[in-house]
Amino acid sequence: MKVELKNIHKHFGPIPANDGVTLTVEPGTLHGLLGENGAGKSTLMKVLSGFLSPDRGEILLDGKTVRFHSPAEAVALGVGMLHQDPLDFPALRVIDNFLLGSPREFLLDRKHHKDRLNELADRFGFKLDPEARVSDLSIGERQQLEIIRLLALGVSVLILDEPTTAISAQQRENLFNALNRLTGEGKTILFVSHKLDEVKGLCGKVTVLAHGKVAGEAAADCPTEELVKMMFGQAFTIGKRCEVTLGEPIFELQDITLSDWRLEVKGLSLKVREGEVVGLTGLEGSGQQMVLRGCAGLLKPSVGRIWIDHQDLTGRPYQDFIEAGVGYMPAGRLEEGLIAGMTLAEHMALIETNPAFFIDWNRAGEKASQRIREFNIKGQPTTLVEGLSGGNQQRTLLSLLPPQPKLLLMEHPTRGLDMESVEYIWRLLQARTREGTAILFISSDPEELLDRSDRILIFFGGKVKVMDACGASLFQLGESIGGKGFG
């Protein structure tokens, strides 16, 4: 099936995720879609698979214009998507997941469908026990299940969104073999990734997205350098923080191992000094958030120790980390950071250290006014936080952090903000580092990382590479985010 996307626009609020994307994929080919975080790959694929409807633009399948209102409609017309995190039902058995959304029969002929499942699995060299619980499967096996489920539904265009972030080398090989076989059978495959060598090895043709637009198209055998330039732009940025003097070591990770259900970061050691700024980056879900939350005491490492200012905090509760001088700022402003329904003054009263029994509302109001001035927040002490704009919410979050923490941990401190706000926030942060605060921050913006960090930790499928930001180029950083040097 031939897939054509014409002039697709999709905005989230004021931010364009897709800004006039046009893309053609020939039937029976494996087409790569490359781009850094936030380039608009996932949004485009969600539009194509019916999860999102575009603001403007057209989708054509074999030359015919189609409109999907749900993923089910897209599947019925032959387009299925395999998500980065499998959208399955872990509590159910393999066979039940396989049947979900498929037959329109009242009583299920389980025997018949089991045979169908086995037959499909065999054809692609997958090993799936129909009676196993999905929760006992590895991510790779869950992907295999999802692929054959979509195929059983008659899908002829298959979209894979970063399918190799959390699977073993063996499973990856199985997956690639299966994909090659599928294109041989005439299926069309869109392979979304940020891993350069995978895309080059697998796909015939590559489209690169950057900032919601098509940055270029190339045959996959074009030089890596060209692809990186398309992904990250031509701008000549190099790390700038070269003359900052750092203090004593204040924070140390000793050989820690952290893991969740899909990923493991193993044996990470890191020493951070007073006033140092360390950027964490990589494709979303490569382990950077896990490490940051580990540093905050929100995730307990299974191995290794965490030291803050010569104090061993390994395995201690989050409250102890706060007391030791750690400030943590989550990415979700209204989800995890602020309390919607409460005013700025109420937030001030809430973070009062050593609170008395009764609240001194005058004091809380004064404190709020003072922070409003200091952080340039456009609001009043009586303003509800959900009534603030995104940038002002972010400044409010910053204003709620302890005034002189030893270590600041921040997830995307400037995401979605205008240039002026970004500049302002970094000025505030840098003033703190001059007084000795060390900062670890997650960002997906390579220029921000190079501009603001002393060192950059690059995450790739749970592996970590440390890069000195001083003098490093955008190109080097881009290559590393794309997987170069991770072996």
Binding site: E335, G337, L338, I339, E346, A349, T382
Partner: protein, 366 residues
């Protein structure tokens, strides 16, 4: 220079006031239409039972306010509902559904009865009464914290934990009434041996209601309102209720606060249980189902008041009046007194439905 900000804030304030006014009009309109809807639906049910709705409504009104004695009866029903509403305002603020409140009332009554049986005769009656009140507080608090403990350590949702503990508390009363605390000679489910009038709360001569009960209820709801608005504990509870994750990340100890919320709500419910033993219109003994649904009624009250302490006061009074007034239905018209409960339920459902429709409508607009 100072002129500009003053101007600015003035504009803002009038804007805020306009918004406030609009909000008040909308909510008021909402409430009134919900009440009309509830009355209409209840009227339809009365018609199905071939009773005249107007006649039934006036009977209920007469039953509640027809004489001083009847009004006194309403007042003594009001007190436990007020106490339970006060408690539920605390748990609801923290986003918790304390369905276990019925069991907490029962345990308050059990503890109070136990203490009075043990000390009656050996201490002056007033001392026994006060100690029994404390025992009631303790019994309810214990049962409430058990719900909190099940949630924290056993990962049992407070709704299921509370429901389970309600059944256990109910069975315990049956066991006590038929077993260790049975009346001399005959053990029957009608309850334990009634306490002598010296162990009743004192009431006014002309008006058969104890001011102590109502004062306790009003004091409880006022203190809760002040605590939720003006103390750090209340602020933290509200933060937990609005966004538990953000509250935790701000360093608030969520577990301790939730424990406290359950304990305090249980204590107030336990005090209501004590009133059901020693109060003016009580039967002055422990019997199965002593909580009589007052806890559930209070849940309806607080929901109808949209979790606002101020509105809980008149609404709980109104509900107490409906409950007492509907007792006239079987006496005068061979209708079931539970029809009062139907009206109460209809009210809450109407409010929730209209609220839901409005927020959907707003969503579509926004």
């Amino acid at each position: 220079m100072p002129a500009a900000p003053a101007c600015f804030s003035l504009a803002n304030r009038s804007e805020a006031k306009a918004l406030d006014n609009r909000w008040i009009h909308q909510t008021l309109l909402l409430r009134i239409s919900a009440i009309l809807m509830a009355l209409l639906l209840s009227a339809m049910i009365f018609m199905v039972l071939s009773a005249s709705p107007l006649d039934a409504f006036s009977l209920i009104l007469y039953g509640a306010f027809g004489s001083w004695a009847k009004l006194a009866y309403v007042m003594t029903t009001w007190a436990p509902v007020l106490l339970c509403s006060a408690g539920l305002l605390i748990t609801f603020a923290a986003g918790l559904w304390n369905i276990g409140i019925e069991g907490q009332i029962v345990m308050g009554a059990v503890f109070a009865t136990g203490l009075m049986q043990a000390l009656q005769g050996s201490l002056p009656p007033s001392a026994v009464l006060i100690l029994a009140g404390m025992a009631g507080l303790a019994g309810g608090a214990l049962w409430g914290m058990l719900v909190g403990g099940l949630r924290r350590y056993g990962n049992v949702n407070e709704i299921f934990g509370g429901l389970g503990l309600n059944f256990i508390a109910g069975s315990l009363t049956v066991y006590l009434v038929l077993g260790p605390w049975k009346r001399p000679g005959i053990g029957s489910t009608s309850g334990t041996e009634p306490f002598p009038p010296s162990l009743w709360l004192p009431s006014l001569k002309e008006f058969q209601a104890s001011p102590i009960e109502i004062l306790l209820g009003l004091m409880a709801i006022t203190s809760v309102a002040i605590a939720l608005r003006g103390t750090h504990f209340g602020l933290q509870l509200r933060a937990i209720g609005m966004n538990v994750r953000a509250a935790f990340l701000k360093g608030i100890s969520v577990d301790r606060n939730i424990f406290l919320a359950f304990g305090l709500c249980g204590a107030l419910a336990g005090l209501a249980g004590w009133i059901l033993i020693v109060g003016t219109s009580a039967r002055h003994n422990l019997f199965p189902l002593i909580s009589s649904g007052y806890g559930y009624l209070a849940i309806l009250v607080v929901l109808l008041a949209n979790l606002k302490a101020f509105w809980s006061v008149p609404i709980s009074f109104f509900f107490a009046a409906i409950s007492m007034g509907s007792l006239q239905l079987p006496l005068q018209r061979q209708l079931d007194s539970s029809l009062g409960g139907v009206i109460q339920g209809m009210l809450v459902l109407s409010i929730l439905v209209i609220h839901g429709i409005r927020s959907r409508w707003f969503q579509r607009e926004g």
